[in-house]
């Protein structure tokens, strides 16, 4: 994905990074701009540890103001726990909810200061 600063953006399960593909040494231009998103190995709100969260792929998109929207997929297919389920799906609640689209803003501020 080409970002508003014309750099190439890509994601891992936990990070989004960017680099200049036209630089003499593209590798030297790599900058990680977001870290520590819920990736493959996560701990759920109830303390359960998962080695393989179900949907770690971080699809993302910029809007024209340089805001960044990121898919933080759900940790499981259906959040079903042993019956009876009486509470909302905890992993999908709160300020770092999974099964959500996260908004990071404003990414252009950093680019324009460079």
């Amino acid at each position: 994905m080409i970002g508003p600063d014309k750099k190439l953006y890509a994601s891992t399960a936990e990070t989004i990074f960017r680099f200049d593909p036209l630089a003499e040494n593209p590798r030297s231009t790599v900058e990680t701009i977001i870290r520590h998103m819920p990736g493959r190995r996560i701990t759920l709100p109830d303390g359960t540890r998962l080695d393989e969260s179900a949907h770690p792929l971080k699809q993302f998109v910029f809007d024209r103001n340089g805001r960044l929207f990121v898919n933080v997929g759900s940790h499981s297919d259906d959040c079903i726990t042993p019956s009876p389920i009486t509470k909302p799906c905890a992993a999908a609640e709160g300020a770092s909810a999974m099964a959500s689209i996260w908004l990071f803003a404003p990414p252009l501020a950093a680019a324009s200061r460079r």
Binding site: I34, A54, V61, D63, R64, F69, N71, F104, A110
Partner: protein, 166 residues
Amino acid sequence: MKPSDPDPPHTVYARGLRNSMALVLHPNFPDTGYAFLQGENGRDLPDIFKPNEEINAIEQGKHYGWPYCYDLSTTSLEFKLVLQSGSVRRTGGEDDRQHELKPLVAISRAASTAFSADAAERRRSASGAGRRDRGGILLACIWPLHGFRHLWHRQSVFERSGYRFA
């Protein structure tokens, strides 16, 4: 957001979206009436072709149903007690009590499907759910054979520039 800030702050823009495998914005977004569309893989029912996949028109702060419901407004029975307890917000009308917003389209996993945004617009107008996708230029294609089954899948939404609704 800069390299020296390892954990830039985020907000949860929209929730209840199981896995947003496709995200696409109209170039004029976030102006009023311009689309933010999302292609979503639904949960896995025993029948590998069920339920449908979804295309949603994303609006800030809305909940799109997962894991409490799927398809256009089918309740996940496993969460019946949660829904009855009222701890999950219900703001839709009529039969739409779990989704705050229904999907624009629910798309069968049984066949590859492409649809254009005007079809989505008609559906959306019919549902009365909002106008966010007016002026959309979006051509969405979904290959709905869902991943992690015996058939690989990928769904994508493509922009088609120069397309406007009358």
